[in-house]
Subunit: 227 residues, 2 copies
């Protein structure tokens, strides 16, 4: 509808920086909150307001909005509703994007329960496991399939993204299936890095709790001493 997004207007779509995309997602949710939940039903917001809500600088906000070609209303700041729509134009997919979880353990259940319902263009619709007890069951509201049917189900159910929460040791076993399935994006909770670089063209985001906690411990240590 509203199409202030410069990059969308020329047919050659400009790719945004990773960090900008992350912040756009955060801006949007914050903007929703600003628009709805407060007694002061704001319609406009200044860059420095949005910035301080996120603990970043106003320049950063303006730069991000510049990149998506969104401009402010003179003297009143950014129109919240229009900005929400503009961000949606950019980061949302036109139709619902289906996601599946591989390895239906505690973490997967927690993620599924937490996530589903939070975004209306992204939905976890299936899970895979090798445990006979789980296969065929409905866990955290979604059907659990046999991991051996990964490729088949991904294609049938039009699944576009995977969340990997299976034991690291089992990751290698499904690599080729993942590539074959045509999956385009992965959130990898596994502690093993899956390097399927070769032309598979899959966007992978690694998340490893052990690494992160060790990193935090390291920089906490630093905090005590210098700096």
């Amino acid at each position: 509808m509203i199409l202030k997004h410069k990059n969308m207007s020329d047919n050659k779509q400009l790719v945004l920086p990773e960090r900008t995309v992350e912040r756009l997602s955060e801006y949007r949710r914050m903007l929703f909150r600003q628009m709805n939940n407060y007694e002061i039903k704001k319609t406009h917001i200044y860059s420095h307001e949005l910035a301080s809500l996120h603990g970043i600088t106003a320049v950063q906000v303006r730069r991000d909005l510049m990149l998506i070609g969104f401009t402010s209303d003179i003297k009143k700041g950014y129109n919240i509703k229009e900005l929400i729509n503009c961000i949606a134009e950019i980061i949302d997919t036109p139709t619902i994007t289906n996601i599946a979880v591989v390895g239906m353990g505690k973490m997967a259940k927690a993620i599924t329960s937490y996530f589903n319902g939070k975004r209306n263009k992204l939905k976890i619709i299936a899970s895979f496991d090798s445990d006979p007890e789980k296969i065929g069951a409905k866990i955290a509201g979604i059907h659990c399939y046999d991991i051996s049917s990964l490729v088949e189900i991904i294609k049938k159910e039009k699944i576009k993204m995977l969340v990997l929460t299976l034991p690291s040791s089992q990751v290698d076993d499904i690599k080729s299936d993942i590539i074959e399935s045509g999956i385009k994006g992965i959130l990898n909770f596994t502690s093993s890095t899956i390097n399927l670089d070769k032309e598979a063209n899959i966007y992978i985001q690694d998340f490893d709790i052990i690494t992160l906690l060790e990193k935090i411990a390291y920089f906490s240590k630093e905090n005590n001493e210098n700096l």
Copy 2:
């Protein structure tokens, strides 16, 4: 013991880049696996071997090891055991670092069960919640305290890091408590950014599943079209 780490030898400790610290954590775990789990009990490893195990370049590995002042044995590659010890010198704390989880929901339980036992210098030893059903109980092997006793317990139990898994709406309520408690590092699973910049000197790592999945969706989209 083995002290090849240049930075440790001069009393002014050099701070490593974030990404390097992350990779060191990953290298270490991979090195353990290389040393123990394989039939070929390797004692040495080349930079390009370690690199390909992680899906990165050999230069990257060498650069990281250069930064920690670790050098190879001539013509044989890096001594695995010594490297493990060197990494431990840098990222491990001398004593066990205690961690607490705030908000004892499904996610917290999954994280605790997953993490505890994996690293011997980091341990989740307590949790906090406001739910009377949970307070006083032992959940996922750890005691759950009343969230109102946050500051007290953190000081008493010498807790140095927090994992925040409580609803975003409740984050603001505990901000001042966190600062008062003297906590040095936070892993924030909440979708609200906690900006407690002001001299609190807390290292914060944000992790927001919604943001990450939206980002992955965005770049998956890109993958389909250009690039």
